[in-house]
Symmetry: C2
Subunit: 219 residues, 2 copies
């Protein structure tokens, strides 16, 4: 397994279009999450899961690209020759490709195998918890968005606007991710990570001299 | 006091060169911090402190600007006519200007009054705690830095390199800020905020499947 991991990681290091949200550290985290979920779910084909974790983002397209919904399908296609070179069986290549193709929101492909459900949840978990906090603020910094609405940080009296305020992305998307998880283990870990985020929000509220109202009152 | 605050905030809204790290929300937080520190220190001239909090960043220069060390002095100069317009006495104008000039690291001007010490600490507190975490990741995202070193996130076996890795800015600068505080209350709040950051680091370590070693082992 560690030889397969190293080989797939080397393919990603060479071929993946890396950006600050899609780098080798992201792949390492998704693989760590995938192993934890597989453990909790009573196992999976770890060869397929490892290859899918490391090759799922081979093709990245900007959020505003018209063909963004195709990125996961194109990653699956790009992965195939590498999987064959690594000596993987045709059945496993097909299974790995399905997990990669079905991992993203925008593709709209239902995950039909345990490995596909686990990869999807593992990738989404990386948007939650302490790492999710770090990634969300890094992305909004790159997009020059404000940290939060100065007068109503937790959107108690307005509709969240995550194009303008980083913290508004939490109620708009991130805090809802547990509901969309495909595995029980993924949902349980997601809920624990949301609790970490709500604790952060309460700390933030105290520091900025604001009541933890709006969604921050849920914690 | 609330009229003075509104007037100074309006000056900043109009004249301050805002960026994601220097916006009205930052000024509101510095003022909140300054009030908390003044309370703990047994009081201060709140007129001077409020004006200094809202006008301390009137002139911002990029981190790599050759005359960056002059920014706080130039903010002090830019503040003077506004303070006179608001009817402030010459003594208070001088005191406000000193607090503004002495607030920054790079100016190298020792804070000689309670208000100057409080403003300096209040500004530095905004780099710590939950808000410090948010700001640090937003800045590194804007600079396209990686979140952390993939193989040694907490710099257990290497020298921190905060030009490359966002998390390395914590041991390189942020976690040391409590030692440089000018007031006892500022130091106490800073230490509590560092504890918040170390808790975040331990959560992050668990999520990324890494031991909380290096500086993260201190918590």
């Amino acid at each position: 397994m560690s030889a397969l991991r190293a080989a797939c990681r080397a393919v990603a290091a060479r071929d993946m279009a890396q950006d600050s949200a899609h780098d080798l550290a992201h792949l390492d985290r998704v693989w760590a999450n995938a192993q934890a979920i597989a453990d909790g779910e009573g196992g999976a084909d770890m060869v397929v899961l490892c290859a899918a974790a490391y090759l799922h983002d081979l093709v990245n397209l900007p959020k505003d690209a018209p063909d963004r919904a195709q990125a996961s399908m194109r990653s699956a296609q790009a992965a195939a020759p590498h999987l064959a070179t690594l000596g993987m069986t045709p059945d496993r290549i097909t299974a790995t490709q399905h997990a990669i193709a079905a991992h993203s929101f925008s593709a709209g492909i239902p995950p039909e195998t345990p490995e596909a459900r686990i990869l999807r949840d593992a990738d989404r978990l990386d948007a939650l918890g302490a790492i999710g906090i770090a990634r969300a603020f890094a992305v909004s910094g790159a997009l020059d968005r404000a940290l939060y609405h100065a007068n109503d940080p937790f959107a108690a009296t307005r509709t969240p606007d995550d194009q303008s305020f980083s913290l508004d992305h939490w109620p708009a998307k991130l805090l809802r991710l547990p509901d969309g998880m495909s595995t029980e283990t993924g949902r349980r870990i997601a809920q624990a990570r949301v609790a970490t985020m709500l604790r952060f929000a309460r700390d933030l509220a105290a520091e900025i001299g604001h009541a933890p109202n709006g969604w921050a009152a849920d914690g």
